[in-house]
Amino acid sequence: MGIKIKSMKKNDFRDNDTLELFKQSGGNVLITTLDEIVNWGRSNSIWPLTFATSCCGIEMMATGASRHDFARFGIEVYRASPRQADVIVVAGTIVRKMAPVLKRLYDQMSDPKYVIAMGACAVSGGPFYYNTYSVVRGVEHVIPVDVYVPGCPPRPEALLYGVMQLQRKIKSETMRLTRDRDREYAEGTIPPKFKLSKEEDHE
């Protein structure tokens, strides 16, 4: 059984079949039906957090505004409080001083929570990868990431595509299992490289 996203055919999500494989791993009728209902609800009302550090934030605003209109896909309103948000779109560079704040914001969000790394800076450090002393090279060193959207900055269409990929990912979830990612994050095995010193963590 494939995953259906209303506004996009399956062929349009190129070479990304892994998500469908998750779905095929089976389960009993009652649970899979319940899963579908829950996932349908979750994937169609992802509310992002108002969080933007730099240039990509402007493109995120443009995505929410008149021409591109985020809300068509159920990404309805930006929430100012992390406790009301489902997804954090990390739009822009994260520097060492900002990293503990971002981690705290992520921890404050209630489950289930998702992360989109928007733009080259959040994916890998982007133009600030070399020769700089303050930039965290990719937000995955601080919090676990679900979808990467490349570009500097990505076009609004790219962000919309990324969001639909996230919807697809949510639709492949099942409530029988805790997500591996969440478990690993709780155990502290991810995020991998970036370690905050004690002072930084309690700033």
Binding site: T50, F51, A52, T53, M98, P153
Partner: protein, 373 residues
Amino acid sequence: MIEDTVIGSIEQQEYTINMGPQHPSTHGVLRLVVSLKGEIVTQVKPHLGYIHRGIEKMSESMTYPQIVHLTDRLDYLSAHINNHALCLAVENALQVEVPERVKYIRTIMDELNRIASHQLWWCSFGMDLGALTCFFYGLRDREYILDIFEESCGSRLLHSYYTPGGLMKDIHPGFQKRVKDFIKYFRKVLPEYDQLLTGNVIMQERTRGIGNITKEEAISYGFTGPSGRGSGFACDVRKHHPYALYDKVDFQEVLYHEGDSLARYQVRIGEMWESMKIIEQLIDNIPEGDYSAKMKAVIKLPEGEYYQRVEAARGEFGVYILSDGGKTPYRLKLRSPNFSNLSAIDLLARNFKIADLIAIGGSLDLVIPDIDR
């Protein structure tokens, strides 16, 4: 009884709250530590560095054409204008005369960028005051400018369109028609902005007489751009130290003397009209010719110091290059308008209510990566 004492103690006691770094109305990751007495602001301390990317240090290991790409990412809403500053500094150092066509295109692009930037400021200022409609109206019109940019530069926001000596590519054949269509359209739409927000009673009440700064204080704090001109400080670099084609076009420096948030608002609305006037004078007369001067493959500046300033959408943007004769600068210092404008926020917001702090911050039009660099 207990309530009375609690409320009484809150009103008398000074207490401190944090605004930011993640706050929807600080336009980025600015952290303001605000001391309050009741609802009245007694002190504002800005804490910087939450988006410090070390661009000045990075520039020391990059060649001049590469640095152009970094200047985009400072004040991303006036990307063209920032590029212009660095390119002019390099061109002046090498004493290269760019073709006339390049000057025309650069001036038009700068002004388009200024309009786009002010539109976005108008959206977010409206949102800060609680008028969500502005957000949709402003960004609707901004998309038309971005389309023009996209056709010629290939990018919507961070263009890196200028290079030392000229432009990356020639303009798109449909550029002139598109720009003229946009101006025609925007002349009709801009009065709508006034109808929506400028005359609004709530907006007037929340900005008139709020965040005052006198001309002398503005000068001593280094206020530039629309914020400075709102207090009557004639500081338009385009007018007083013209570069590109600004000495040939006819435009007015918009000046208001009240020095409050409303004056700063009106300066920006006036600037959009003036920018359109500048574009209209130039768009039909773009001369034929090369889109770039002949430059050496490796650009090396002669030893010495060079400074160039331009009028960005938020104020005076300056680039200072100290060269030791190599292909990378020995030191690059950027004078960003937002840094100086922010420095006065304590003076502006003191003795006003905390809700006014939002309006004041909005009227300064801060872009945080430009402050932290």
